[in-house]
Symmetry: C2
Subunit: 414 residues, 2 copies
Amino acid sequence: MSEKTASVPADQVINLGRRRLMAGSATVIAASMTGLAKAADTSSAPPPTSAGKPLPPYVAWKDPNAMIVHTGNTLETKRAAFGTSIITPADQLYIRNNLPAPNVSIVADRDAWEISVEGVKNPRKLTVKELKSMGLETIAMVLQCSGNGRGYFPSKPSGTPWQVGAAGCVIWSGVPVRAVVEALGGMVDGTAYMTGTGGEKLPEEIDPKSVIVERSVPKGAMQDALLAWEMNGAPIPHAHGGPLRLIVPGYTGVNSIKYIKRLAFTAEQSDAAIQRTGYRLSPPGQKGDPSQPSVWEMSAKSWINSPATDSAPVQAGLVQIKGVAFGGINAVRGVEVSIDGGKTWQAAKFVGPDLGRYAWRQFVLPVKLAAGTYTVACRATDSKGNRQPEERMENAAGYNNNSWRDHAMQITVV
Amino acid sequence: MSEKTASVPADQVINLGRRRLMAGSATVIAASMTGLAKAADTSSAPPPTSAGKPLPPYVAWKDPNAMIVHTGNTLETKRAAFGTSIITPADQLYIRNNLPAPNVSIVADRDAWEISVEGVKNPRKLTVKELKSMGLETIAMVLQCSGNGRGYFPSKPSGTPWQVGAAGCVIWSGVPVRAVVEALGGMVDGTAYMTGTGGEKLPEEIDPKSVIVERSVPKGAMQDALLAWEMNGAPIPHAHGGPLRLIVPGYTGVNSIKYIKRLAFTAEQSDAAIQRTGYRLSPPGQKGDPSQPSVWEMSAKSWINSPATDSAPVQAGLVQIKGVAFGGINAVRGVEVSIDGGKTWQAAKFVGPDLGRYAWRQFVLPVKLAAGTYTVACRATDSKGNRQPEERMENAAGYNNNSWRDHAMQITVV
């Protein structure tokens, strides 16, 4: 990961922030890096991943064989670790933090965490315990970093060079945001955005607006959003935003605010740097500014997990080509696979239950392959007929890569 | 758990076996108890569960706060640990082993595990690697011990006194058994049963038939059965039957054979004790025999997870009554909740995605409760209109308890 300071995109602000923190208040980092591992994991150094770098202590409970450790705050799921059971287990799910997590003491009493709800007729603070009495919804959702696939940009934008593993399909459970808004009298007039603010401790002696994690999304996203306390059947791990995370289905991960402490219905977008200039689809070579599209909704995307370039050579005969496909803001309708680099395509079959509009589906295509080299690719189509494009949309920071050509792989059959 | 030896039901055979093993070959036990924990967990003694007993070393990776440790081979999920995200995470899933697991070396090379398929036109051995080339299916399924709910039998049958936590909803991925049978030419004429044999090492100097884990189910169960290598998105943990487990959706857990080494299509049921006399619905006071019904298909069942008797007092006001409901061999159609001990009932609402016929669904019913004491109960109805009964079906070993009255709870609202 680049260490240069010029034109650092917003999703790298952690490095900027951490370097500054190291000059100033090192204790904040230390606090964020300790105490998070499961009890049984704390007595020994975490094992190195097979890629070499050890798991950071705060996520020492992750599966070291499933993860690629880019930095202390950016961990990617290995392509080979994605199974075919739809849901990504917590210990294999990617990590991408814009700031170090708050002190782990915030999960000592999860029900006591408070969120301030503003921009409603009757604004007030609510504890998680109160939220739990207000309603319940459960949603399966693709959580994907805005920069997933950045590693395929030939322009090598600064930021983590994710391939496919800054994504997972996760089940979230919490109270629908619309139920909370309704209970508090509805949104105020003139609302255009839902703005969430993270509860990370901010470094001192820096303009808070330059580092705070605060994102605005169009107010319509509220309809399916949750204030979630549970992930994959367990309280949300601290490293993934527990005790309370805003979940915005169909939007890239940065919009699902961890440790949410404030949810506001606002006329304008936040003026925090992460919203104003960060996460913008800027033309190559240009800095982000508010006139450019914000990184919000996800589009149709798919990739093959097996066989993969980095796995053992494939034996000739019947081969099951397997992968995941999703529609982003829309449901996924279908997915096609090519074994000749995109010249011809065959429809693959979805397998397993359909977990709903925002989830991904597993697909499989059985093909008979003779010895040789094949370029395998896949492309998804969403419920509105939008097809995953051949080419990426070039942008300065390497966001939203859903090019099927970039995600194609060469495999060798022996 | 009872330690007496007279009329030990089949699901306690492990204790019988282990005591005999201790007199004979202690190394088998030692081998089965080591090496299974995740690397990071092995350097320290496992933490005690809040119930007091420590996790056995081979499942030291389980969440100690979620589990009740009955014995080394019987661990139950705490009612309070069941979340609302449908899927039960691996580290919260119950454990019930009829024999100690084979040596952990069997998962060193999972693809090399062999299964013998017999009773087909072209019987042969197949490795997991070969099975992976033959097809793929993914099924969400309630895995439930035959004795779940035994703890509510006033007759106190011997065997683990499970309450609700010898169950979970799990996603399995593998090859459909029917695809394997088809590839091997189909079942032989006269087949009536599908018989699976576990790969556990058998104690010496005992009649193998008295301890081997070998179960027969009607051949029709083959239609939706899997030979599975993956559970909840990761290779099946050794403690849960990896590298390969037979999955028989809609049937109680004992029929889903761990470490499966032989799958046979047979005219008769197995003559192993676990099939012949074990897991029979015997009248109270009688021993099991082949004339009695075998414990096979599951029926409609539901229970409330929150609020629960053992949780903190509930605050008066709006309360979300939450639980799980499933149909067993059939899909679940609906579930009703009573707050007056079964005098009146209200339909609850299912939340979250429907994971299919064999999965459970989460339900919620918001109710306004004043201070007082309430007897809360729930009853599920399956897709064929079968309703969960008020009374348990009495039987000697305490199997198949789906009485809604037994599962009702008193809660206190303050």
